[in-house]
């Protein structure tokens, strides 16, 4: 049976916008607006969405790198947001994060070995005398060599730096690793190497991943389940196959239709959405997607759709749309195409 590892409940992250002479709060950027999801042990869950949809913010909020506005983050049964700073710092051993930019995620003044040793020192996972040995072991685990331990980050390539970042995350033996656009900054060939490394590590160390990406190809390669976000809300959650084959939400359909198909004879329907992504400062009422949705009705402008499983859809496949069934059986007309 699947055991819950992380359960995010009604997470909200609103960043204040200060304005005026006295710096009073004039408005909020609703980067993440009431999202809930569960991650089970050993699986890879991806969050996809356009830039600015709140996917990275979600990752940072779970790590408490930015303090969330409200909600609960239940990790192994305890609410992370209820912990004080010291308890949280202890807990951080179990949750780690890998960052997007391999050039900014390593301190340029520390060698690879020092970076890893410091991580172990902070969490006190390995006794001092054995740290050096562990550093070499870690470097080898991520595909680097022992002699590279004394090199500075600028002496590594982007892919190698990302491997050091992965080794740093691994050094404290975490249970959950959040990969925040972990391969987006790398070349495609290096992306594949790093993704395969992540997959191998998952098998070896029984890791759980929360994989944040805007790249559908990467997401398809690595995920078990996928969460689609749009302007701070979850619009669809599903197993990988179910999502790619039977997308329910009109936004997901449009998103998936943007993936190029290699077969030139295959008929492909490209859904081009009109308009722009609305601002998270003032998201539209009702369904956030109604300003661009070809199926939008008056109901969509008023009532926020809840995540639910459509009739006939696979179990666990949830989407937040009032008209999933109608769209599926073709009884709704598009306002534009």
């Amino acid at each position: 049976m699947k055991t819950e590892l992380l359960n995010v409940k009604h997470l909200k992250q609103h960043f204040p916008i200060k304005g005026g002479f006295l710096g009073r709060i004039v408005n909020h950027v609703k980067a993440v607006d009431d999202i809930s999801f569960t991650i089970y042990e050993g699986e890879t869950v991806s969050i996809v969405g356009e830039s600015g949809c709140g996917k990275s913010t979600t990752g940072r909020a779970i790590m408490r790198l930015d303090e969330p506005t409200s909600g609960e983050i239940i990790f192994e049964g305890s609410n992370l947001l209820a912990l004080n700073k010291r308890q949280m710092n202890k807990k951080r051993k179990d949750l780690q994060i890998i960052f997007q930019d391999p050039y900014a995620s390593l301190n340029p003044r520390q060698t690879a070995g020092e970076i890893l040793e410091e991580a172990m020192e902070i969490q006190n996972v390995v006794p001092k005398s054995k740290r050096r040995h562990r550093v070499i072991e870690l470097l080898e685990t991520v595909g680097l060599a022992a002699y590279q331990a004394d090199r500075y980050p600028h002496e590594f390539s982007g892919g190698q730096r990302q491997r050091i970042g992965i080794a740093r995350a691994l050094s404290v033996n975490p249970k959950l690793i959040i990969c925040d656009e972990a391969v987006s900054a790398l070349d495609v060939s290096i992306q594949a190497q790093v993704l395969n490394l992540l997959k191998r590590l998952q098998r070896e160390f029984k890791l759980t991943y929360l994989f944040i990406s805007h790249d559908l190809g990467v997401v398809r390669h690595i995920s078990d389940r996928i969460i689609v976000m749009y302007v701070g809300r979850i619009v669809e959650v599903a197993d990988k196959t179910s999502l790619f084959e039977h997308p329910q939400h009109p936004y997901t359909r449009a998103l998936l239709s943007a993936i190029p198909v290699l077969d030139p004879d295959r008929k492909k329907e490209r859904i081009i959405l009109k308009g722009d992504v609305p601002s998270p400062i003032d998201p539209p009422p009702g369904c956030v997607f109604h300003t661009r949705c070809p199926y939008a009705t008056d109901r969509c402008k008023e009532e926020i759709p809840q995540l639910r499983t459509a009739e006939g859809a696979a179990g666990g496949h949830q989407a937040a749309c009032h008209y999933m069934e109608e769209i599926q059986n073709g009884s709704m007309e598009r306002a534009y195409s």
């Binding site: 710092n89 951080r92 997007q100 340029p108 969490q123 090199r151 740093r168």
Partner: protein, 298 residues
């Protein structure tokens, strides 16, 4: 802040560079700017003079001898003698350690407090940041010499007070620069990575922020030494700093003021000494800025 230097990029096959190699590449970049190199050598020369110079002079800098007053420069008295018959060359040499230590210690005072305030402001932000920065703004709005004058007139006339005064008016510049650099570094992902690992603020500040903002601090300190020397000399010239018979250059300049018409060398030589030292630090500081900033030197 980012240490990806053009020279060292893509050398992952080369043997690991050690500290020696770093110094070498730093020297290479510095030497591209000839003026900076000259400045650097002059600074070194000044420091050596300050350390061993006083042991090599044959005269006493404070010995008054009216039989040899107001002599022109000669083989015996290289820079001539002043109105009290003191050898100017000896006094310049003896003034060097004074000048340099006034510059060094006042910048040290300014840098220490400036770094504390700047890091605090930049790292924690919020209300304290606003308060500290408004105070800094007020201090920056004062002309430096005026502020130093006010401080010295309150604290009393002496070289130590000059050091404190110049130090205090260096604090806001350091605080500003350190705050800005801290803000830039704090947003980098390696700081987030440290926070994700559960590192304490103290560890993050001392091990990750300070080493990465050291370049602008060093550059600022070097340039600031020049300003400090100039201000300290200015205060001594006005009679608020070093008291006679201390061979302080600003005070010597003031001594020579009355003899400008007939014996200009008395005022001119300490003036030139001040110019040379200040110029040396300025050139060196400018060169350092280029050499330590990977972006400015493609």
């Amino acid at each position: 802040m980012n240490e990806i230097l053009p020279e060292t990029r893509g050398t992952s096959f080369a043997p690991s560079t050690n500290r020696h190699g770093r110094w070498r590449s730093f020297y290479n970049r510095l030497s591209k700017n000839k003026a900076a190199l000259v400045g650097g050598y002059l600074v070194v020369l000044c420091v050596i003079t300050a350390i061993i110079g006083p042991y090599l002079t044959q005269y006493d800098p404070a010995k008054v001898d009216y039989s040899i007053r107001l002599l022109k420069p000669s083989a015996e008295h290289w820079f001539g003698t002043d109105h009290n018959g003191r050898d100017i060359f000896t006094r310049i040499i003896h003034g060097m350690p004074l000048t340099l230590s006034v510059g060094f210690f006042s910048v040290l005072v300014g840098a220490v407090f400036g770094i504390i305030l700047g890091v605090f402001s930049g790292y924690y932000g919020g209300k304290w940041d606003a308060v500290i920065m408004r105070v800094v703004d007020v201090m920056l709005a004062f002309p430096g010499i005026l502020l130093a004058l006010a401080i010295v007139s309150v604290l009393g006339k002496s070289l130590v007070m000059v050091v404190i005064a110049v130090g205090i008016f260096s604090v806001p510049t350091f605080a500003r620069i350190v705050r800005g650099s801290t803000l830039a570094v704090r947003k980098l992902e390696y700081i987030d990575a440290m926070r994700a690992l559960g590192a304490s603020d103290r560890r993050i500040i001392f091990k990750h922020i300070l080493p990465n903002i050291s370049s602008p601090i060093i550059v600022q300190a070097t340039l600031r030494i020049a300003i400090a020397i100039l201000t300290a000399s200015g205060l001594s010239f006005l009679g608020l700093g070093a008291q006679p018979p201390t061979p302080e250059w600003g005070a010597m300049l003031n001594d020579g003021r009355n003899y400008m018409q007939e014996h200009p060398h008395i005022a001119l030589i300490p003036g030139i000494a001040i110019v040379v030292v200040v110029l040396a630090f300025n050139l060196f500081g400018d060169g350092l800025r280029d050499a330590l900033d990977p972006k400015a030197n493609k």
